[in-house]
């Protein structure tokens, strides 16, 4: 399938076409393949042939292209997000990982109203300390729990 056909059928905007083309070119160089071969991949064909809305499918396509362009980053980010979810932090505690894993900074936000709630939230946070430490270790590549190779 050609990019022009895809752009027409999904009614892509100019900016989306530029982003897609740029990602496709970079993937092609990284993998030594043609753009046509990349567009023929099942994961992309499934999106092109699905019944969803045009804008939704464009978003899906661009997400998939980013995954193909940054495969290890995507995998590491998914593993870390799963780890955050698995910690099961209570309401009032929010963990934010750095955008694109561009640093090793883990941000922990506490929201509490009044002293009682604060005490409860801090106690909950203390109970999760070891898991948060492990999360930080995973982010900085020290802990093997996050496989990037």
């Amino acid at each position: 399938m050609r990019l022009l056909e895809i752009a027409e059928s999904l009614k892509m905007r100019a900016g989306q076409c530029v982003a897609a083309l740029s990602l496709l070119e970079e993937i092609a160089i990284r993998e030594g393949k043609t753009i046509g071969e990349i567009l023929d991949r099942p994961s992309l064909r499934r999106i092109f042939n699905s019944a969803g809305s045009g804008p939704g499918r464009v978003r899906e396509m661009l997400d998939e292209l980013r995954t193909l362009r940054y495969p290890r980053l995507t995998r590491a980010a998914q593993q870390l997000a799963q780890k955050v979810a698995a910690i099961k932090l209570p309401a009032g505690i929010k963990v934010t990982l750095p955008r694109d894993l561009a640093s090793d900074e883990v941000r922990v936000e506490i929201i509490a109203h009044g002293s009682e709630e604060m005490a409860l939230v801090l106690a909950s946070l203390a109970a999760k300390a070891s898991e948060l430490v492990r999360l930080a270790a995973m982010l900085s590549g020290v802990d093997r729990g996050c496989e990037v190779e």
């Binding site: 495969p71 290890r72 980053l73 561009a102 640093s103 900085s140 590549g141 990037v148």
Partner: protein
């Protein structure tokens, strides 16, 4: 890989291609200009100009100004000081206290990731300074002013220290000068195996030759006109046997798929060739590019997949491999080095104190003290 400049006898000294040699009138009678002209093949155009700085600027025609600049050698007088702090140093980073002696600017080799593509965009001509003896005066002043301190001083920041050394022979004078100064350590940093001049002089323990090393895949794809990794390691063994200290820079570490094993194999190759306890240091630095450098590098080398890794924009405005992968690679490399020789100094280049802590499990040393330690090691 090497470019043979010409086959004539008088040009056999020169391993890199030159289109033109431009000599500033005031340098016409200099010893450096004489050596360069005697080693330059007749096919290379020679011109004389009033102000060499103008000849170092980008040419009006042509699309690859930087590439063309590499083939235009300009012999001129340096107007500013020769000695400066490392341009890579910053309060943001855990630095190594390196001082730079600027004896040349630009490099005949052409690594796709090289920061000079951006740094020298406005004056890409390959400049060599005929008044380089002035650098020795500056070093004299430094050693007199700070007589109790040791300094590590390198010539390989804005140029390769040994490229064209067969033509300029500056290394002989440098090694001779440093051999007489016990609180100075000269670092000649290179990607060549151009060591013939070094083998003819006695360093007396005051010159260290360091090689930037990359696995074969990076060399083949990105390090144009450089010596192959194995040749660099063998050249290190030869200078070590001749009484020089040697060090290695794993810089830039490029995190392509399979990189970890390739870099570990490269380290094995080093330790199979040289005893670990004879190596002065390893530095490790990840590929980092400002947006401007990234654009220029990709424009000049559009099919180089090493420039299309999984880099993301960091807080310091540079693209680097995402943290999890980068720190893991650094830790693996450091682990292998320490396994081979537990007291071999290893440091990070252009990484934060936080990165240093993650990889080494300790706070980074103060730059000046690390510089002195590396100078004394």
């Amino acid at each position: 890989v090497w470019i043979a400049a010409a086959k004539s006898n008088d040009a056999q000294k020169m391993k890199f291609q030159l289109d033109t040699v431009v000599i500033e009138e005031s340098c016409r009678a200099s010893a450096l200009a004489g050596r360069i002209l005697s080693g330059t093949p007749a096919s290379v155009e020679v011109r004389y100009v009033i102000d060499g700085r103008i000849a170092a600027r980008p040419l009006a025609d042509g699309r690859d100004h930087f590439g063309a600049g590499k083939r235009r050698m300009v012999v001129l007088t340096r107007r500013g000081s020769f000695l400066m702090g490392c341009p890579a140093s910053s309060a943001r980073f855990a630095c190594c206290g390196y001082l730079v002696l600027v004896l040349a600017s630009n490099c005949p080799m052409d690594c796709s990731y090289c920061f000079l593509q951006e740094h020298l965009a406005n004056n890409p001509g390959f400049q060599v300074y005929a008044n380089y003896a002035g650098a020795f005066d500056e070093l004299d002043r430094l050693t007199h002013a700070r007589s109790g301190r040791s300094f590590r001083i390198g010539t390989g920041e804005l140029a390769d220290s040994l490229a064209f050394d067969s033509l300029t022979a500056i290394s002989r004078e440098l090694v001779g000068y440093f051999s007489e100064h016990q609180n100075l350590m000269l670092e000649l940093k290179t990607k060549t195996d151009e060591i013939d001049n070094l083998l003819a002089v006695e360093p007396r323990g005051r010159t260290l030759v360091s090689w930037s090393l990359s696995p074969m895949r990076v060399f083949a794809q990105s390090e144009h006109h450089t010596a192959p990794p194995e040749s660099r390691i063998n050249a290190a063994r030869r200078v070590l046997e001749a009484g020089y200290k040697v060090g290695f820079h794993l810089d830039p570490v490029i995190a392509y798929p399979g990189a970890e094993q390739d870099y570990l194999d490269l380290l094995d190759c080093v330790f199979d060739t040289l005893p670990g306890d004879a190596i002065a240091f390893f530095s490790i630095g990840g590929l980092r590019m400002t947006p401007g450098l990234r654009s220029e590098a990709r424009r000049r080398f559009p099919s180089d997949s090493m420039l299309l890794g999984e880099e993301v924009l960091g807080e310091d405005g540079r693209y680097r491999t995402f943290t999890t992968l980068r720190f893991r690679l650094f830790a693996k490399l450091r682990e292998r080095i320490v396994k081979a020789c537990s007291d071999l100094p290893v440091y990070l280049c252009m990484e934060s104190a936080s990165a240093y802590h993650r990889v080494f499990g300790a706070d980074p040393p103060i730059p000046a003290s690390l510089g002195a330690e590396l100078a004394d090691h």
